[in-house]
Symmetry: C2
């Protein structure tokens, strides 16, 4: 079992990674129960079906409820429903909530925990690779509104994260691949050695790969380090914003193509290819490195170009509306080389020109 710490003063917490991590969650829940602390368990409906026996050990039957784990659950309606159910179950300010599922469940349930009675404890049990390496670390929670994704939310750190590789065994292949896009991202932005390790693997990573938990742990450690230094994303030129490598393009793709057309990780994969090509143009990333990035993404069957073209103007407008556009300026995360990312403001006309060449 691997343990990574996210250091945030009194909000510090551990991420437990490996086969068997779920049993630690069961133990934590039993401990709370002994202390007369009420708990609720909100699980992805699909995960609950695939791992029924396992989930039956977490909390009492009356504690458990299910939610659809797709992006369309991240609404005010579902948020209100969760808060009402928590109240109906008698959850009070000392209570705790377990979120069992992918990023959608973590974002929605974490946000509900953030606002129910102005904030109660919650635990993350990520069941997708994407959630394990990304959304379960860092405390970002939220929902979507018509005007954009994740435009409403809160920073709310979990008390602990339990990442059990067993859940990955039942993860659809394309979702595993989407998670790998984020795994690869960490190598690109801050850890060339990690990128080279992945690039050198004969057998690509998979849920039963002997180095899988290690890779997840490395991503968590990288993200934890970034988050510890910049919890609320206040650092404009580095810190958390570096985690957005590929995301400025990726979010725009998701929005323009319609949410659900691409998995988040798929959009990020295309976004990283775009960021790499933009880096070649803007700050001298080697063409051969951009090519190796594309190659590694392809090994995981990730898309490296748009399945259907999107007008450059539409992408630009979506980027300008994205929350990363602080007071009008457009900032991109670009790479000087693999493992060395930075943020850089770019003129809109320059962006448009690049988008036209790419699309």
């Amino acid at each position: 079992m691997i343990e990574e710490r996210v250091l945030l003063g009194e909000r510090s917490y551990s991420i437990h990674i490996g086969r068997g991590a779920f049993e630690l969650a069961v133990g934590e829940s039993a401990g709370l129960s002994c202390s007369k602390i009420k708990t609720a368990v909100v699980s992805d409906a699909k995960v609950a079906r695939l791992h029924a026996e396992k989930l039956s050990r977490l909390g009492a039957p009356s504690d458990r409820m299910e939610k659809d784990g797709t992006e369309k659950s991240k609404t005010f309606g579902e948020l209100e429903d969760l808060c009402s159910r928590f109240a109906g179950m008698g959850l009070d300010r000392k209570s705790a909530v377990f979120a069992v599922g992918g990023g959608v469940i973590g974002d929605l349930v974490g946000f509900a925990a953030a606002v129910y009675m102005r904030g109660i404890d919650f635990y993350q049990v990520p069941t997708t690779l994407l959630a394990m390496v990304d959304s379960s670390v860092g405390g970002k929670t939220g929902i979507n509104i018509d005007e954009g994704k994740n435009l409403v939310g809160a920073f709310h750190q979990p008390r602990a994260v339990f990442a059990d590789m067993e859940f990955l065994d039942t993860l659809p292949k394309n979702e595993f691949a989407a998670g790998m896009a984020e795994v690869i991202k960490y190598g690109l932005l801050a850890d060339r050695e990690f990128f080279e390790m992945m690039y050198a693997l004969e057998e690509p990573l998979n849920p039963r790969h002997p180095r899988m938990a290690e890779a997840v742990g490395r991503c968590c450690a990288l993200k934890a380090g970034v988050v510890s230094g910049d919890e609320r994303e206040n650092s404009p030129n580095g810190g958390r914003s570096l985690l957005n490598l590929g995301h400025t393009f990726g979010h725009a793709i998701e929005k323009c193509a319609g949410y659900g057309t691409y998995l988040h990780g798929e959009a990020v994969a295309i976004g990283m290819v775009m960021a790499a090509e933009f880096s070649v143009r803007m700050c001298g990333l080697k063409i051969s490195d951009a090519e190796r990035i594309r190659e590694l993404l392809l090994r995981y069957s990730l898309p490296v170009s748009l399945r259907r073209p999107i007008a450059a103007e539409a992408l630009l407008e979506a980027m300008q509306r994205d929350k990363k556009a602080v007071s009008g300026s457009l900032r991109f995360v670009l790479m000087d080389e693999i493992g060395k990312a930075k943020t850089q403001p770019v003129d809109s006309a320059e962006v448009l020109d690049f988008l036209k060449s790419f699309a």
Copy 2:
């Protein structure tokens, strides 16, 4: 102009109190505008009508919107509407929102500012006495759900508060009185001298009373002191919980009678009379002091008993569901004497017995 500081580290802020405080808000808004920081102004529709000329100086016309200031606005629907409008106006993470109105507007708009893009700045311009002395200080924001009042929300401190007495000139008499219930509360819980000052006044406080701003300032200072020591209400036996004097009863009355039947301050007035009588029974508050409390409340035409009886059992159940009931125990704020409040756990049977004698 009186200035009180709420000391909360990097979240510290000032409360400006007096006729003309609104002009300071106008100045702040103009300063933000010069720095290219987008702002939104959300005003109580009634206040906007009564003070149209005044409000026209705060922000640009396209920044301004109105909301109904009654309790039924504190819903997920209105919260979503505000977030959507903020997005439509192009508010980004650096933007700021001004909330102009009573407690409902402050709670709703403050909560929207707390969750829009995971938190943007906001300023409070309280226009009711209740909001000036209570809800605008302390950073509590939130909305109601069917299961209870303020069950969903966030702690989100304003950047500054501007309390202009001019708004009180147009406040309905019963709303002014409701605010006075909270003003009197501060004397009861922590400041006997303040209580005696009010008790000794020949002319009761009113918006044009020479001591009005001073009284508001004293309440803000008392609340600020309590909040600084216990921002997130984690102190179970003192701290913020003392501010709930009269509120455990008051909230139950509001819930059982149906929200809107009593103004919040009216319910609190009855709740304080109940707390005083309960204090006589439980911890030796002098009967004569309980009588003086009732007398002072009556001078402001506040109710000191229920207009229609409510079953003791219903009140008890509502109290048990209230968020102040931490893991089942029932805690009350009681007074050893005027100006000395404390929290005390009380057995449910004892509470029921008292409620039956009161009703």
